[in-house]
């Protein structure tokens, strides 16, 4: 793996959801949710990378409540996670979506002794502890994703197809609801909390636009927006962990754009390297120059966007320590569309990407780039 070889982990069912364990501080863990319409066949896989040996250890939990469309680990408690799921009821011939918060019975993934190992090898899926399930107001309303509040462990932002609601975690009740202007009937695609600005802003993707609402008001007017961020649908966005006005977006025009949302007319960084829609974009939380994208052309790309991450008094350019903008590496181990890619929150150089054909690829930033950033 150190030589740039990736570790591949395969699952049985299609997958669309991946999350690092945000609250964990030592182990490199990723959680994967499966997406299968067969009843009682969905699982949550916890994958841990043993850093020293490069070995992968996994633990499987049942997720019988339905197929998982979106999964997010809590940033407050390593054991907690929220899934956005969908169930088909053959009696009513209807699909119902919901958001559930689960608790992992144990964080331990690497077996302590041989007994545990043998029991694990049987791959007996364990049960998750269900804490609460949030149902939409209307049964057929679709839910896009659920996002933990960055600081308030009791709040959860849920993106529905046409509105955003903030729910109370313990009761599941909505405390606040935001709706875009009634005129536009464009559906929402996804959303995310803004980690800056006092954690009160929630950004949503609506067709080609990015809109950010303030959760303290019920106002239908966004506090800021980037109209026509992409020429087609916007698929994902991510906030720069350090620069409070920078946001990266990816969309169906195969482009990766980085915006200063104070001036949302022109992106400050624009690359079109994928050959199909880009479904995911992630900032490295330690090194804001590094970005990760995943696309339905079956590739994950590692980008450098160093030119826009420079401070006026920064002299790294003179010393030649700056990375050149653009694609650093293309990861082609996937055979199908890559819908998720995530950095590890523990180790700054490790990341995982997940494709629809249930293949998880864990890779590292190639050493030359790493040294260039560090030295």
């Amino acid at each position: 793996m150190e030589d740039g070889n990736s570790i591949i982990y395969g699952l049985e069912h299609q997958t669309r959801s991946l999350s690092p364990q945000y609250a964990e501080s030592e182990a490199i863990r990723f959680l994967i949710g499966t997406q299968s319409l067969k009843p009682n066949s969905n699982q949550v896989h916890v994958v841990e990378l043993e850093e020293d040996t490069g070995a992968l250890h996994t633990k499987v939990f049942k997720h019988d409540i339905g197929e998982i469309w979106h999964l997010r680990c809590s940033p407050h408690d390593a054991a907690n996670l929220v899934t956005t799921h969908n169930t088909y009821d053959p009696n009513t011939l209807q699909c119902t979506m919901g958001v559930s918060i689960f608790k992992l019975p144990t964080l331990q993934v690497i077996p302590k002794d041989l007994d545990e190992l043998s029991s694990l090898q049987g791959r007996n899926a364990e049960d998750l502890e269900l804490l609460v399930t949030i149902k939409p107001e209307k049964a057929e309303e679709e839910i896009r994703c659920a996002e933990w509040h960055p600081t308030d462990a009791g709040r959860l932002g849920v993106v529905y197809e046409s509105s955003v609601r903030v729910h109370d975690v313990s009761s599941g009740a909505a405390v606040c609801s935001m709706k875009s202007d009634g005129r536009t009937r464009l559906k929402l695609t996804a959303g995310k909390w803004n980690p800056h600005q006092g954690h009160t802003q929630f950004a949503v993707l609506q067709d080609m636009h990015i809109k950010c609402f303030d959760t303290r008001t019920d106002c239908s007017k966004p506090s800021w927006s980037i109209d026509n961020a992409h020429r087609q649908l916007v698929r994902d966005l991510d906030f720069n962990p350090n620069r409070q006005f920078h946001v990266a977006s990816a969309g169906d025009d195969a482009a990766l754009n980085i915006w200063d949302y104070r001036n949302g007319k022109e992106p400050i960084f624009n690359r079109t390297d994928h050959s199909h829609w880009v479904w995911t974009v992630r900032y490295n939380s330690y090194h804001e120059q590094l970005l990760l994208t995943g696309s339905s052309d079956g590739r994950g790309l590692l980008y450098a966007a160093a030119s826009i991450c420079r401070d006026p008094d920064d002299d790294s350019e003179k010393t030649g320590k700056i990375l050149e903008d653009g694609v650093l590496q293309s990861y082609e181990q996937h055979e199908d569309s890559v819908y998720c890619s995530e950095w590890s929150t523990v180790e700054p150089w490790t990341f995982a990407s997940l494709s629809y054909d249930a293949r998880l690829v864990i890779s590292r930033v190639p050493r030359p780039f790493k040294y260039k950033l560090l030295l």
Partner: protein, 699 residues
């Protein structure tokens, strides 16, 4: 040879030198009969008698001649004696003449001296009279304005006055003259400073002052400052009329006033001061300003008429050349050629800019006609041809226009540098027009992707236009240019211009246009599919009765683009394959097999489009169908929903297989869509292929 010698030395031959009478006699006596000997004797006797008489005759004749010669010699001796006497008489006479003539000249010497003295006195008197009359003469000349006569007279007299100035009678004259000349100097200086004097008067005044021994440096300064102020006035006048006169008038005025004056000033200066250090600098300063003005005049839009421009330029250049001879400044001639070259370049720029605007206009018209065409089909080839011909003609016309600079009757027309400049300008017109075309196309292609309403046919046409230009157009124009140059300036060697950058421009522009067309068509179809897939409730869909309407629209969209492409781009012959009728699920759609993908090639959806019909269609198909796959994966299907999609996919497969040439690609994508739908289906049961066929036929 031997024989001949023998014959020669035959002692029997009587005429030979080796004749031996004894041998002959012996031989005769031995060989001949008596009769023969008798005859021979008689013959010899007659022969010897004949010879005897002949000898006598000869002796007499010679004797006569000797006697007559003796007589002649005697006569000559007596004649010479007479002549000697005559000669003696002549020499005596000559001696006498010499003595006479010396006597006469002695007598005449006295009177000759007298005459000479008289003449000298007379001259002196004349001079004196001139001196005495000098003041009044001077006054008269000054009053009549003949300053030069006055100065000439004065300078004549001055030497004398200086010599005899101490004599009282001359002193008064001298003071009087000095006063007059002082006055004259004052007048001349005033005239120098006054603005109304012409350049000739100015030069004259300075020359006179110089003769009157004014100090050089102050004169020089005055002269230069006066000249400068005069020239400045001309410059101001010229710049003020530059706004509203045409180039011919302007050049005329410029030549007649400013340049003429400048020439006079320069020549006077050189004549008078014989120093060349300052004047070229001064002239250069003025010339730079003139050139500035001239450039402005050239650039004024109403001076765009080539014929007029060239005539004006010709006049100007001729004058400049004339000036070059006067002033020894190199700058003048180099600036002159520079002005001509600049003029040519400016003309070229005007040409390609006007070509660009005109082409843009015609493009707008095409765009409008394409946008308003409605449903009827338009012959794209026609439009392409007309655009192409239009562009080529415009360029060729402007090349021809530029050739006017090489006319033989122009002062610069035959110069090699001019021909080179024209050749450069022509290539520049070609290159710039092509670069402009490329930029225009690229811009349009970019606009297109940002949802601007540019008809996709126009993009196809422009792409084809760029490609044609790249393939043949540019080289045709280059050849045309070479021919024109050959006619206008024979013998000019034009180094082959590097056209590779233009070619790259054109081909990238064509590529951008094609890519953008493909993406546009693909996205249009993809958008239809996306909206229709996302909006439909597939879970509770009714049993399929036919392909959904959106499929027809998608097929129509792709087919219209394919049709348009087929008009312009060559069709590579499609290999007829037996699999064309194959339904795509004949290979059992494996429910979910990553293995299948390993063996299939990765499909690059947004990839550069090739310039032929099939590749263009392939590109659009990829974009549309990949979107279908991705959208299907976002939905959940019921059994009928899946079957509906099966019908749709079958329909698309049937209708789209005639487009493009990569059936594997089409099938792989459609298979993927159907397999994805199966995965997303709660009750994945497909319909019988035969029923699907029937439904598709019916629909």
């Amino acid at each position: 040879m031997e024989e001949a010698k023998a014959v020669k030395e035959n002692p029997l031959d009587i005429d030979s030198s080796s004749f031996s009478p004894d041998v002959y006699l012996d031989c005769l006596l031995k060989c001949a009969t008596l009769k023969q000997v008798m005859d021979k004797e008689a013959e010899i006797v007659t022969q010897s008698q004949f010879l005897q008489s002949e000898m006598q005759t000869l002796v007499y004749e010679n004797y006569n001649k000797f006697i007559s010669a003796t007589e002649t010699v005697r006569k000559m001796r007596s004649d010479f004696k007479i002549m000697q006497e005559e000669m003696n008489k002549l020499s005596e006479n000559i001696n006498k003449i010499t003595t006479f003539s010396s006597q006469i000249s002695e007598n005449l010497q006295g009177s000759g001296n007298n005459v000479r003295r008289l003449c000298g006195t007379r001259q002196l008197l004349d001079k004196l009279q001139f001196l005495f009359l000098l003041p009044s003469q001077l006054n008269k000349a000054i009053a009549e304005g003949r300053y030069s006569d006055a100065v000439q007279d004065y300078s004549h007299a001055q030497r004398v006055l200086q010599k005899y100035g101490n004599q009282p009678s001359f002193q008064s004259i001298q003071t009087e003259c000095s006063e007059i000349i002082f006055e004259l100097k004052k007048t001349l200086r005033e005239r120098l400073i006054s603005p109304n004097t012409s350049a000739t008067e100015l030069a004259e005044s300075v020359a006179l002052l110089r003769q009157l021994q004014e100090s050089d440096s102050s004169l020089q300064d005055i002269f230069l400052s006066c000249a400068e102020s005069r020239l400045d006035k001309h410059l101001q006048m010229l710049s003020s009329i530059a706004e509203h006169t045409d180039i011919l008038d302007w050049v005329e005025k410029c030549n007649n006033t400013l340049l003429a004056d400048l020439a006079i000033i320069i020549s006077c200066y050189n004549e008078m001061f014989e120093q060349e250090a300052i004047i070229p600098e001064f002239a250069d300063k003025i010339m730079i300003q003139i050139f500035h003005l001239f450039e402005e005049v050239i650039k004024r839009p109403e001076n765009n008429g080539t014929e007029m421009l060239i005539r004006g330029l010709d006049k100007f250049f001729r004058k400049l050349q004339a000036m070059t001879e006067i002033s020894s400044s190199d700058m003048m001639s180099s600036k002159g050629t520079e002005v001509v070259i600049q003029c040519i370049n400016h003309k070229a720029m005007v040409q390609y800019q006007s070509i660009q605007t005109q082409f843009k206009d015609s493009l707008m018209k095409v765009r409008q006609s394409l946008a308003s065409k409605g449903s009827e089909t338009i012959d794209l080839k026609d439009i392409l041809n007309s655009l192409q011909v239009y562009l080529m003609q415009k360029i060729q016309a402007s090349l021809l226009d530029l050739m006017a600079f090489l006319q033989n009757n122009l002062s610069f027309g035959l110069k090699p540098w001019c021909a080179k400049a024209v050749a450069d300008a022509c290539s520049k017109v070609i290159n710039e027009t092509m670069a402009n075309l490329s930029d225009l196309v690229k811009k349009m292609a970019c606009l297109q992707t940002s949802n601007n309403n540019i008809p996709f046919e126009l993009l196809l046409i422009l792409a084809k236009l760029c490609l044609d230009m790249q393939e043949t157009g540019v080289s045709t124009l280059q050849n045309h240019l070479l021919k024109l140059l050959e006619e206008a300036a024979p013998g000019l060697t034009v180094d082959n211009k590097d056209t590779s950058s233009v070619m790259v421009h054109l081909s990238t522009a064509a590529q951008t246009a094609l890519d953008s067309e493909v993406v546009f068509i693909g996205q249009t179809a993809a958008q239809m599919l996306r909206v229709s897939v996302l909006a439909r409730d597939w879970l509770r869909a009714p049993e399929p009765r036919g392909p959904r309407a959106v499929c027809r629209r998608v097929v129509e969209t792709l087919a219209s683009a394919d049709g348009a492409a087929s008009q312009l781009f060559p069709t590579s012959i499609k290999p007829s394959s037996d699999s064309s009728r194959r339904t795509i699920w004949s290979r059992a759609p494996s429910s979910f097999s990553p293995l299948n993908r390993i063996f299939s090639e990765r499909i690059e959806v947004f990839s550069p489009a090739g310039a032929d019909r099939a590749a263009l269609s392939n590109g659009a198909l990829k974009v549309a169908l990949k979107a279908l796959v991705e959208c299907v994966r976002l939905r959940t299907f019921g059994r009928h929903g899946l079957q509906q999609l099966q019908v749709d996919v079958h329909f698309l497969q049937q209708r789209l297989s005639c487009m493009g040439n990569d059936e594997r690609l089409l099938n792989a994508l459609l298979e993927d869509a159907l397999a994805s739908a199966q995965l997303r289906c709660v009750d994945p049961q497909l319909m019988e292929p035969s029923i699907v066929d029937i439904i598709c036929e019916r629909g």
